[in-house]
């Protein structure tokens, strides 16, 4: 189908998918074994206080009415109030988002660079020692528990060797807040010290997050290269004497990268999966550590807000990837 039709189709389904997500989150939030009213009122609250809270928050309404209220609130941006910070959850999420985005972006970049490069190398030198070694390396990276890898890296590079900082985003005071993205802020305010510190701090978390994603990317790219190399078009080009150099670096590369772009949605999902534990271990003040803290505080609303946020991010990224892929493939949506 044409590019416009594809975009329209994806956008059309964006809303219902979001709605479905909201429904699931709502159901989960109401399946709580502990009475939310009692939780909000506090441990030593009386029955009257709990009842007052129940009425105040509409928790005694029928479920459908509650759902409609919930939708209404969510669209207006009211995700409830965090039990822990006493702030609106949306505010909390907005404050934490830049840190996670920074990390996710850095990890995506690293994963793409390492993964695609190694995948191409492995694909071009199929069945050689290099290919086998890379195969073992990738399959091992995918078998390691991300939180364990994070811990061991931290233990080795921070605690034992002292090469890199233990946790956090930056040493001392962060640069003046302009965008919330430390790297951008440091560049804007020309704060070299902060920039360097931020770089050191982001290294380990990025590496830990990127490695499993890089391994997956490498496998996909390798398969893409191999498929391209054995395609009839490459066969024809070789028969017609096109130099191998041109065939590989112009034609095969393009086909392989196309295949990789298609898989970026999957890669991002892997990154989001890892972000929760990696942020926890490195005390990275992003959405992931917010979620974990909320769990420990039994802050149900905050966890639901986090789930919603993550879902929206993933759906959006998938949407963008689909649109991008359709845009750069001359066949439309192949």
């Amino acid at each position: 189908m044409s590019w416009l039709a594809l975009v329209a189709n994806r956008l059309f389904w964006f809303v219902p998918t979001l709605l479905g997500l909201l429904t699931i989150v709502f159901i989960l939030s109401r399946v709580v074994p502990v009475d939310p009213a009692v939780l909000m009122a506090g441990e030593n609250a009386s029955a009257e206080q709990a009842q007052r809270i129940r009425e105040q928050f509409g928790l005694d309404q029928p479920l459908i009415a509650q759902f409609v209220d919930y939708l209404h609130d969510t669209i207006r941006g009211d995700l409830g109030r965090s039990l822990y910070t006493q702030q609106p959850i949306l505010t909390d999420l907005a404050a934490r988002l830049p840190a996670t985005l920074e990390l996710a972006f850095a990890a995506s970049l690293v994963a793409l660079l390492i993964g695609v490069t190694l995948g191409i190398l492995a694909g071009l030198h199929r069945d050689t020692l290099l290919d086998h070694v890379l195969g073992i390396a990738t399959i091992s990276c995918m078998a390691v528990a991300p939180f364990w890898m994070a811990m061991e890296f931290q233990s080795l590079f921070s605690m034992d060797l002292g090469w890199l900082p233990l946790s956090g985003r930056v040493q001392g005071f962060p640069p003046a807040q302009v965008t919330g993205f430390i790297f951008l802020d440091a560049l804007i305010t020309a704060d070299a010290g902060a920039l360097w510190s931020a770089l050191q701090h982001i290294l380990l978390p990025t590496l830990t997050l990127a490695l499993p994603a890089a391994a997956t990317m490498a496998r996909f790219t390798r398969n893409g290269v191999i498929a391209a190399m054995s395609s009839p078009s490459v066969d024809y080009q070789m028969a017609m004497g096109l130099p191998r150099r041109v065939i590989i670096w112009k034609y095969v590369l393009r086909m392989a990268i196309m295949a990789t772009v298609t898989q970026f949605g999957l890669t991002f999902a892997i990154l989001l999966t890892g972000v929760v534990v990696v942020e926890t271990i490195f005390d990275w003040p992003g959405l992931g550590s917010y979620a974990i803290n909320s769990i420990l505080q039994s802050d149900y609303n905050a966890v639901m807000g986090f789930t919603l946020c993550t879902g929206v991010m993933l759906i959006t990224v998938n949407l963008l990837v689909d649109i991008l892929q359709a845009a750069i493939d001359p066949r439309g949506s192949a």
């Binding site: 389904w13 219902p16 998918t17 479905g20 997500l21 429904t23 699931i24 989150v25 989960l28 939030s29 399946v31 709580v32 074994p33 399959i139 091992s140 995918m142 078998a143 390691v144 528990a145 991300p146 939180f147 364990w148 811990m151 061991e152 931290q154 233990s155 080795l156 605690m159 034992d160 999902a269 989001l272 999966t273 929760v276 534990v277 926890t280 271990i281 979620a291 974990i292 769990i295 420990l296 039994s298 149900y300 966890v303 639901m304 986090f306 789930t307 993550t310 879902g311 993933l314 759906i315 998938n318």
Partner: protein
Amino acid sequence: MKALAKRFARDRIAVTGLAILGLLALAAILAPVLAPYPEDVATFHIERRLLPPSAEALMGTDRMGGDIFSRLLFGARATLTLTTVAVGAALLIGVPIGLIAGYYRNWASDALMRVSDVFLAVPQIVMAIAIGQTLGSSAENVILALSLTYWPFWARLVFAETRSMRNEIFVESAVALGASAWRVMVLHILPNIASAIIVRTAIGMGATMLTAATLGFLGLGVPPPAPEWGRMIAESRQYLPDAWWYSLAPGAAIFLTVLGFNLLGDGLRDILNARIRRRR
């Protein structure tokens, strides 16, 4: 079947994977016999806490003085059982749904797949955390969380394969000959998509195990004092880098198990794909 087994034996990757898993299963089953300190699953010996590996404690002791090696073996039971049940449940729910939705071409099928898509819109671990936190930590809830977040993947996969098979001649002729929907789905379509399912199951076991371990790490898994690899790693955190053995043992155990599943899956894919290619 014999030819398949022969091919399997020649594929070193698959055999290695199977060997690892076999050893692990054996270790799990024989845990009570193999463990030098089987009572350490529940009892504590504070005086023996945080000892490095030695002849008495092959992998050292943990913060409660328990022998890590013994707890590891029993943890294998918990982990393997949990993962198997969760993946099994996800298959039992997801595969039939995918088959039915793929076979019938109506609004209900599309709606069902949209529901799956919604579940797949959130990373599995996030949804599992949300569910686990809501319901509380126990083995049953972990299984519930894992299978609830995994079945949509199977439904989607089987749906896509069934839909493409639906147009094949052998299916159309079976339908024309009057075969009931059930017969077509189970006797005709299912065997042909079986290899895809088998390969993904092997790899899925590994992925589910990692998710289960992550839940355990976050405190949402099997509650203490029962040994669970993920939680053991979480416990070890505050004693690093000195008590290096404390995190290394369970971490390596997880790594080996998932590696085993991945190798098996890879090997199976090579074998079954070759078979499909030759048949075509």
